[in-house]
């Protein structure tokens, strides 16, 4: 359970950590667009290069970054396998019934796997380098235009930040309950799928109960402090755009431009 590192803030001080969360969010969106615009390996290589730079500047250990991919390894392998087997290519290496392994299929699968990996790493870098609070502030600030159509932006941001904040808490809780049931001889590691799902009941019931109890307590505590989420609420930490953000903005803009140019001028199929 401790391996689930996605969504957990990694507390070091770095260039990336100090960036404005709004910029980081926009950068992530731009990056994802760039990944999908990249139509050949040159484009993806540039994206990967930028990601390596970000990782270096964020001072997050490589193992931690790669662990984010671990969670989706199954998905990556699954899609890659499907593509290898069913992609309609011209250079056929092996064929059996409707299944054919082709050169194009192999290349396309590798391309797709790389794309997915970049996507996951970049998204998890956002939560590694941004505290839930500033992430929420960023989302709220970016969604401000929606307030004009009376969309409850603040409530949405609050829900998000509470959800993020309680991921590690519930994780600890799960660990605790799991240990308690293990001490009573519960077995979570053996048996078939059905048996394993049934084995989760002694964890899920107490976990749900405790989540509801926490929600109740949190609600009451917020009420006791007269929390109302009204629009007059001021902020303790104001978001400011600084020189770092300008640098990051330029990198992002350059990335998109570069990928688009490569799409146009280097139309090599992968």
């Amino acid at each position: 359970m401790k391996d689930v590192s996605f969504g957990q803030y990694y507390p070091v001080d770095s260039f990336v950590h100090r960036l404005d969360p709004r910029l980081k969010l926009l950068f992530l969106i731009a990056y994802i667009v760039a990944i999908f615009l990249a139509s050949n390996f040159y484009g993806l290589a540039v994206c990967a290069g930028v990601l390596v730079l970000i990782v270096l500047f964020s001072r997050i250990p490589l193992g931690k970054v790669l662990r984010a991919v671990k969670g989706v390894v199954f998905l990556v392998i699954f899609t890659a396998a499907l593509n290898i087997l069913f992609y309609n290519g011209e250079t056929v290496y092996a064929q059996w019934w409707v299944i054919a392994i082709t050169k194009e299929g192999l290349i396309f699968s590798a391309f797709l796997a790389l794309r997915l990996a970049l996507l996951v790493i970049c998204s998890s870098l956002l939560t590694y380098t941004t505290t839930p609070v500033s992430l929420t502030d960023g989302v709220e600030s970016l969604l401000t235009p929606l307030k004009w159509i009376r969309f409850p932006v603040h409530a949405l941001a609050l829900i998000m930040s509470i959800a993020l904040r309680f991921i590690p808490v519930l994780m600890d809780e799960t660990e605790r309950i799991k240990n308690a049931q293990k001490a009573r001889g519960a077995d979570f590691e053996s048996g078939n799928l059905f048996k394993r799902i049934r084995a989760m009941v002694p964890i899920l019931v107490p976990l749900l109960l405790s989540a509801f109890r926490r929600a109740d307590e949190l609600g009451e505590a917020m009420d006791a402090r007269c929390y109302s989420g009204s629009h007059q609420r001021t902020k303790y930490k104001k978001l400011r755009f600084g020189w770092r953000d300008l640098v990051a903005f330029l990198v992002g803009a350059a990335l998109i431009t570069g990928v688009v140019l490569m799409r146009v001028y280097l139309p090599a199929p992968y």
């Binding site: 990694y10 309950i177 308690a180 049931q181 009573r184 001889g185 077995d187 964890i203 107490p206």
Partner: protein, 312 residues
């Protein structure tokens, strides 16, 4: 079962900014039949230590790798870690941890939060079903659950079909304890068993532990930071501080060293405070720091003085 730990260390989240050394070179022996207390602040490593006793926390594999490495010249090799509970060698990966957990019962803090089944009977029977080799009949389960419920002071007929979530706090805790002792473990480890209960509830839980010690489990290990609880109940106690064991003494000797305990930021029992206050005024009371013994000694002193006064 005798519990032996030597040079035991444990680091949470190794190689990350969250890394914290919870145990540093802990050596401790708990003899069979003891009512053993473990005292310490939050974060002193006491809970981490007891979680090793039934294999919930295992010795990290890195330790083994380190052991295999040949020491460089002039470097003293690190002392070998030993962790044995009875016949079980916990440094060995091949140990049967299921059998270990059957004979070392573990009651966590706020055990009522682990209840999950629809009825009290099913919840208490959970551990029993998990640990038994062959399938037990309903009658066998019933009789074992009944015995466990009765020893924790709950009525079988009244309780068996109730939902554990409809019970009071104290009752829930008893059900949770019954769910651990139902397999008749030889060693029972409890982490702050009386936390969050009112004074009467605390007293009842401690009485229950004595009853269990007499009739049910040979060895009891209690983690606590309530010094009165330790002085009244334990045969021996270990003091943990910042991941190390600082003292291992019977309470009657331990609480004589009130100054050392205070300097570690720990409290002493009320009897020890009173004894210290009286000592300041020139009245030495030599007791074992249980309330009963303290009163006896004070009364004896009192009547001796009264006789002297009467004689003069």
């Amino acid at each position: 079962m005798r519990i032996v730990a030597e040079h035991l260390s444990y680091v949470y989240n190794p190689k990350s900014p969250f890394a914290t050394a919870a145990l540093k070179d802990v050596s401790l022996t708990i003899e069979e039949g003891e009512f053993f207390g473990i005292i310490g602040h939050t974060g002193s490593g006491k809970s981490t230590f007891v979680q090793h006793l039934n294999g919930l926390l295992r010795l990290p594999s890195s330790l083994k790798r380190y052991k295999k490495k040949k020491p460089k010249k002039g470097q003293i090799p690190p002392p070998e870690t030993v962790l044995r509970v009875g016949e079980f060698d916990l440094t060995d990966k091949k140990t049967d941890f299921r059998a270990l957990r059957k004979s070392v019962g573990m009651v966590f803090q706020y055990p009522e939060y682990q209840l999950f089944a629809e009825t009290v009977r099913d919840d208490v029977a959970f551990g029993l079903k998990n640990f038994s080799e062959e399938k037990l009949t309903e009658e066998q389960l019933d009789s074992a659950v009944r015995a466990a419920l009765e020893v924790v002071g709950l009525d079988w007929e009244e309780m068996k079909d109730k939902s554990p979530f409809d019970l009071s706090g104290g009752q829930k805790r008893r059900v949770a304890i019954a769910g651990v002792i139902v397999t008749r473990p030889e060693v029972l480890v409890l982490d702050e068993p009386a936390a969050g209960l009112d004074p009467l509830g605390k007293k009842e839980i401690m009485e229950l532990l004595h009853k269990l010690h007499r009739e049910w489990c040979k060895t009891i290990v209690v983690v606590s930071h309530d010094m009165d609880e330790i002085s009244e109940n334990c045969t021996k106690a270990a003091v943990f501080s910042e991941g190390r064991v600082v003292m291992v003494l019977p309470p009657r000797e331990l609480f004589r060293r009130a100054d050392e305990l205070t300097s570690l930021g720990l409290d002493v029992p009320l009897t020890a405070k009173l004894a210290a206050a009286l000592a300041k005024r020139g009245v030495e009371i030599d007791c074992d720091f249980t309330t009963e013994d303290f009163i006896e000694k004070v009364l004896a002193l009192w009547s001796a003085r009264a006789r002297e006064g009467g004689g003069a």
